[in-house]
Structures are given as structure tokens and as C-alpha cells.
Subunit: 190 residues, 4 copies
């Protein structure tokens, strides 16, 4: 795998997301993705070892972007609740701007492909957030339960609410986002 043309690599990621979103993993083929990206199927093998690698790389690329987006404007000195609200808003903003990407990750994370991902690598993009949660627990602001349970009420709701497939009726207005945040906060706050 020799890397050269960065725009081609980018086009490949975008094509992968588009094709998989439109027809699912079951029907997605290297040929179709290549066609969408405007390159030859053979060229994909210059950028990626095989099909699996293409899919996994696409997933990690998107996750990296999400981790970065959530922490936009982050400031340790802010009150815990404000930090969460900011993260919450950042999350909705980022997702609404990258619906397709996020849609892809949902599909990916609920398939056996997820087993191929080195979760350590992904988690490090969210490290800072874990630290905030821990602080909240230590300061007795947040319930003292496992990160996983907290995530179920604080982070998954962002994904589900933003997912047209699951919540077709939830418009991403400031008001709706705040209402939902209050519910999430009620769930996790002590």
C-alpha cells in the first residue's frame, strides 16, 4: 500500500460511506465503491490491503472526526453540567453536518466488522470526555455507575435521536436538543 494522492483517498472514504449507506454491507462491492469514487477497483488495492481494511479505515476516520468535534470549545474550568451541554450540542451539530458519516458508523458498529477495530485506538479520541465524567463522579455531581451505563443515557441518545431511521420525528432544533439534554442530565445527575 503506497499512499500518494490524498484527494483520491478522501474520495474513496466518501464513496464507501455513500455506497454502504445506500445499499448496505450486503450489496456493497469493491467495484461499486470504486465506480462511485471515480477510480478503478484495482486502484483501491494501492490504498488499502483489502475490502475489510477499506471499511475499517473509513470507520476509524469518521470516529476521529467525531471525537475532535465533541471537544470543540472545551474548557476544563467550566462547570460539569455546562461541559456536558456543550458536548451534547457539539455532538448534534457535528452529526447534523455529517449525517452520512454517522449513519455509516451506526451500521458498521452493529455488524461483525466492529470486531476488527482496535477499540483502544478509537477510545483515545474520547479520552478527555472520560476524564470529565470521572471528575463528575468524584465531585458527586454524577451518579457513581459505570461509564458504560452513563454512556447509554448521555451519548447513545445523541446517536439515536439524530438517526432518521430510528427517530424520523425528532427535528434537530435548539429546543428539542435542550429538552432531550435535560432528560439525559436527569438520568445521570445525582
Amino acid at each position: 500500500m503506497r499512499v500518494k494522492d490524498e484527494t483520491k483517498q478522501q474520495a474513496l472514504f466518501e464513496a464507501t460511506v455513500k455506497v454502504v449507506n445506500e445499499i448496505g454491507f450486503a450489496s456493497s462491492s469493491v467495484a461499486k465503491i470504486a465506480k462511485e469514487a471515480g477510480i478503478s477497483p484495482a486502484t483501491i488495492y494501492i490504498y488499502h490491503e483489502n475490502k475489510e481494511d477499506l471499511l475499517v479505515s473509513t470507520y476509524i476516520e469518521i470516529k476521529k472526526g467525531m471525537g475532535r468535534a465533541l471537544l470543540q470549545g472545551f474548557d476544563t474550568s467550566m462547570p460539569i453540567r455546562d461541559i456536558f451541554m456543550m458536548v451534547w450540542r457539539n455532538g448534534f451539530e457535528h452529526v447534523s453536518k455529517h449525517r452520512a458519516d454517522f449513519h455509516f458508523t451506526e451500521q458498521f458498529a452493529n455488524s461483525p466488522f466492529i470486531d476488527l477495530v482496535d477499540m483502544e485506538e478509537v477510545n483515545k479520541y474520547f479520552e478527555t470526555i472520560y476524564q470529565v465524567i470521572q471528575r463528575g463522579i468524584d465531585e458527586k455531581i454524577i451518579k457513581d455507575v459505570s461509564f458504560e451505563i452513563l454512556g447509554v443515557f448521555m451519548f447513545y441518545p445523541m446517536l439515536i435521536l439524530s438517526n432518521k431511521r430510528h427517530c424520523s420525528g425528532f427535528a434537530l432544533t435548539d429546543e428539542n436538543i435542550e429538552t432531550a439534554f435535560n432528560m439525559a442530565w436527569d438520568a445521570i445527575k445525582l
Copy 2:
């Protein structure tokens, strides 16, 4: 004229779930499912119009079972919170007994296959629960927000917490289940 073998149909559903869970939609083929079910690939087409129909039927079959399970022991006269707790417990119990089925639906619901399902048909299995929610809203016990938002905090958590992929560290103990219920209830109660 031989008569249609009902056990074959059942074996087919189980094989579909098993194969899809193990290797995902991307690699699941009619031949593999048939082999797992111990029948000829051609026989599948006696029971189902095509592959799509097999997958969709499997999904609906599972959803039907879930809807039935959630309402086990249901009694209108119970207090709203108790009903939800019962549904919550029923949910975890059912899911823990049918992990594979439920795993399949997660994958299915996050793929384009879900678009092939007549949601009306699925929703009717959950009709009674919708009525309880409405009663809770009317009696000012539950927050007056859309069903979708409530579902995100009251029902999706069951799915995510039970999902080893997403919550490997969440053991389905009575204590954990109750802790999580309290968080869900905090989120939706007025």
C-alpha cells in the same frame, strides 16, 4: 402432496439469525443459511419469495416475540412506574434468553433492510405500551415529550445495555437492571 413442514420454517429462522450474527449481512448467503438449517438452498424458496423476504420475515417474527414478552403479567390497574419496571424487567429477561435473536434485530434495524419492513405491522405488537405511555403523560407522571424521545431513554437503553458489543461490562444482574431502571425513570418522569 407432501405438507409444509413447520419445523423446517423454524429451523430456517434460527439458521438465519445464527449465520447473520456470526458473519454479518455482508457475508451471509442463502447457501450458508440453508446449510445451517439442514435443508437445500432451493427449499428456502418454497418458504420465502427471496432472500430479502427471508430476512424481513425473520425480523418480524422476532419483533412479534419481543412485543409479547414485554407485556407478560401486564395489568392496567398497576401504577405507571410499576408497569414500566415490569416491562423493563420483562425486556431484560426476554433479551437475555434470546440474545441471538435480539442481536440480529440490532444489525437488521441499522441496515437498509429495515426500510423493507412494514412498520405498521411491527408497531401493533407494541400498541399497548404506547397506551400506557400516553396515560402517564395525561396523568402528569411522565414528561410531555414525543414518544420517540421517551423511547430513546426508556426502551433503547434496554437494547444497548443488553448488547455485549456495546456494553461488555454490564452484567444482567437484578441490581444492575434496577440501577439502570432508576436512571431511565429519572429521565422520563416529571
Copy 3:
């Protein structure tokens, strides 16, 4: 093969002709023919040993009808030319009334299926006509060339001219039929 229901047998012949004409031998299947005939594929095997036998039987059935039709109103005492003209007219009349049947035989006779037919059996339906030809040769009215060559100019033209595929512009009017007859007669007469 036990024969019972004559109308079913007839429906089967008609279905065979219809299906083969519409989609050709390449796509025709026992199942499609059975469906067209309104019976089960399995039932076909009560009336015919196998698919081949069904096709061949259909061909022979049609040929029998043609042989009979050509000789309608036949009378040995008529002048040779008049006999030919009568046969010619009978031919066009019969074909125009049984376009589909005739269409089927064209396709059949130009496929390897024809090799399965016992030509002796078919030829006997046309025996009388061969005798007339021989008389014409003996009486020095018709050119003394082989039956095959004479057939090419006297009988094949009926088939080709009646075939919409080959002669879309040839309307089966009395005038056209007579014009063509004169050409055929010019070809074979001494």
C-alpha cells in the same frame, strides 16, 4: 403416462406453444408452461415422459393438423395447377388461423429438437401431396427436379410469407396470395 383428461392435454399443447413463442426455447421451463396451462408442473409428467416429449408431441400434433388442412377439398381429378393453387390457398388460410402454432413449428424445426422427431411419421401426413407432385413431373407439367427443390419454391414460400418475423409487410390478402402463387408456379412449372 396415463391419459385421462383430454381438455387438460389440449390446454398443455396450447400453453406450450404460447410460452415457447413468447420467450423462446432458451427461457421456456416446465414450470412456466404448467402455470400457463393452469396445472401443476408435476401433472405434466402424467401426460408426458419429460420436457422433450412434451415439445416433440406438440410439434407433431400441429404438423398433423397442417397436413389435414392442406388437403381440404382435394380432388384427384383436378388439373395439377388447380390442385397446387388449392393447396396454396388452404395453406395460407390454415396458417392465418393458427399463426401461433405455425410460429412454434418454425422455431422448433430450426432447432436441434427437430432431430428427435420421427420424420416418417410427419411425412405421411403429406404423402398425398407428394403423389400429386410426382404426377405433375410425369405429365411434364412440373420441372423434373427433386422433391426438395420443388418444396423450396412451392411450400417454404408459404411459411416464410406467413411469418410476420420474416415478412412483416406481406398482408395475407387474396391478391397478394395469388401474386405469390404465380411466382411459385413460374418457378416449378416446365
Copy 4:
């Protein structure tokens, strides 16, 4: 990038003709044709969109060769009858050299596949001959009837007489060919 192998394309045409002639459209499969051509079934799809396209292309290829062959030695200044005789002889010579090809076209032209052919494209290979016919009509040498009728007596006989299936007893000797020509000429001449 490997370059398309023209001999492979040719082998494919020949294999198609051979297989279809031997077992008919009903039994001819892409796999059998590929095997006969010595290539992988998948390779066929590099040269042709699908099976249909392979068959149609083969037909057109053969027709093109025929059109060219008929006009060998063609000279406008020759008398009409001599031109026809030359075309007639060219036809028999070409057919006898390419029996298999011509056999294929007979089968093809009597099947629904013929409907897939752009007749305009085929007819242009015979354009010159149509002009000669028209000249013959204008000069009152040939009967003033439609091209189709003339073709039935002037061109179809070549095909039928050369067809072992229809005329097993017609040897392609110069004498036989001339005898038949005279009959054809008698049919169409004024």
C-alpha cells in the same frame, strides 16, 4: 493494464456458434460456451454485457460476413441476371464454407432473439443488393412486387437449400446450384 485479446473475442464467437448449433438455445449456457472457447465464464462479461448481447453480437457478426461475401466481384455494369447469378453463386459458396455460422443464424432468426436485433444495422450490409433489385424492377426485368416477396424466391432458397436439416438431399454441385437458380429466376423475372 493488459490489452483486450482480439483472438479471444473471435474464439468466443466460434464457440457460441458451435455450442448453439450442437445443443440449441434451450441447453446452451454461458458456462458451456466459455468452456468451448477456453476462457472463464466471467471473462465473457468483459467482452459482452450479458448472454443476450453475446448471442446478438454473434448473429450480427455473421450477417456482416454474409453481406460482404454476396457482393464479391460485384460490378454495376453487369446485366441484372448475371449479377443475381453471381450473388447466388457467392451465396452458396460462402454458406458452404461457413455452414455452422449460417446454421446458427437460421436458429437465431427463428427465435425471439431476433427481436433484439437492430434490423437497420443488418440491412445496411445488403443495401447494394436492394439497389440492384430496384434497378431490375425499373428496367422491367423483374416483377414489380415487394422486396419481401422477391426475397422469398431469390434469397431464402439459398438458405433452405444449403440447410442440411431441410434439404439433406441437395448436394451443392454447380449443376444443382444452376438448376435452382433458374427456378428462382423464373419466379422473379417478368
